[in-house]
Symmetry: C2
Subunit: 248 residues, 2 copies
């Protein structure tokens, strides 16, 4: 495990010159892209009826997962039971400004209710305030809690709120903490995934840690651009539309 001092020294180096991007898996062909998509509904006004439709679509189109707020994890997990579609829950979402212990408790509740993937928002204010130790400890703790239950952890950076150097540090923290994915955005911030950010993240953490692009992905063209930049998961509420474009 890298110490924080080592991470910051490495960030200085990578700020001057990013590492080469590792080789990527071949991009999906046609309807294969469904397996790269997390079918997502996170708006606060989403009803149980809408979440049911989301799950039916995920089963029909063979999406990788269904991603919802904690209040709907039990429902989603029941509806997807016995299928290969995963249940994904967001934690500390979308501000990331809850307490570390709170994120742990929320993570455990989601796992207990059937989530097998956890998308946690980092403490963005701590990043901006250079309280990197707090960020590191929080990410490491959540990664351990999730991995203890053989689940998958994705860490959301909310890239639109971070400067380039902060993105680099956050990526190295995530890599050192052994997370499974680094994810760009909540979809509630001032901006979503960009090709430039996905490329930066993939260069820093790939291929051991995977990249989930999210926020503003509404077309096949955007989806493929994210994949070419290094993303292997796409968080979007436009999955059905994207698959229809892919097979058209």
């Amino acid at each position: 495990m890298d110490t924080l001092a080592e991470i910051l020294a490495l960030a200085d180096k990578y700020e001057r010159q990013l590492p080469q991007a590792a080789e990527m898996p071949p991009p999906p062909i046609g309807a294969e892209i469904a397996g790269w998509i997390e079918h997502t509904l996170l708006k606060p006004e989403a009803t149980a009826a809408q979440v049911k439709v989301l799950c039916q679509e995920a089963l029909q189109y063979h999406f990788a997962s269904v991603c919802v707020n904690p209040a709907y994890v039990t429902l989603v997990s029941a509806l997807l039971s016995g299928s290969p579609v995963k249940t994904c829950a967001v934690v500390g979402f979308p501000l990331g400004a809850t307490l570390p212990t709170q994120k742990v408790v929320e993570t455990l509740a989601c796992l207990e209710n059937g989530a097998v993937e956890i998308d946690m928002v980092i403490n963005i204010g701590a990043m901006k305030g250079e309280a990197y130790g707090l960020v590191y400890n929080e990410v490491q703790t959540i990664a351990q809690v999730v991995h203890n239950q053989r689940a998958v952890v994705k860490v959301i950076l909310e890239t639109a709120l971070l400067r380039r150097k902060e993105k680099i540090i956050a990526c190295l923290v995530c890599k050192a903490a052994g997370v499974d994915f680094v994810k760009t955005s909540t979809g509630f911030g001032p901006g979503g995934a960009t090709v430039e950010d996905v490329d930066l993240i993939y260069r820093l953490v790939g291929p051991q840690v995977r990249v989930k692009a999210s926020g503003g992905i509404r077309s096949l063209e955007t989806a493929l651009a994210m994949i070419r930049a290094g993303a292997t998961r796409l968080g979007t509420s436009s999955g059905v539309q994207i698959v229809k474009e892919a097979v058209a």
Copy 2:
């Protein structure tokens, strides 16, 4: 305690005709308005340094409270210690889509860290899906937890996402659950406080339950309009500006 059936019957009646507004306290004169303002900083990128400035301003201007995300409650509580300015924390914020147990745990953590006012977001999706029992139980539970610790509970409706009838039901649920304040908005939704919504809420819950207007209050004129409609607390990040206008 009203049953849900009684609440829904009453909502039908009030949908046709709202009750008269109860008499209001006299509006604040000049700098008095500071005591009606909750000095608020909820953006995810807020740093500890910015929160310290917020607390210094609150002490200087004699605001009613400082309102922050859970991650900063300990800091705020320490900085305000010994002063009459209250520490206020948001819970289930801003989507309201976490689990009821999660909101309880988060509330308890905030109270333990020094918060004496809790602003909780209702489960908006449950409101939209007519799962009113869930909403009622959650609000009632949080009110009990907060009152057990002699703290104050405000319930955020996120009015911009609710239809008129849903606002009426939510208000009656809050009143029946014995909350201290009904609050209009998170500031992260598609709209903030409106005079019409504050008036509606005050007619339904006032004066026993008070009204906190929040979201988009950036001038003395808007602040006073909210007060004339029935608000006795204003959540805003423009408190210093508003007080300066009031004494100019």
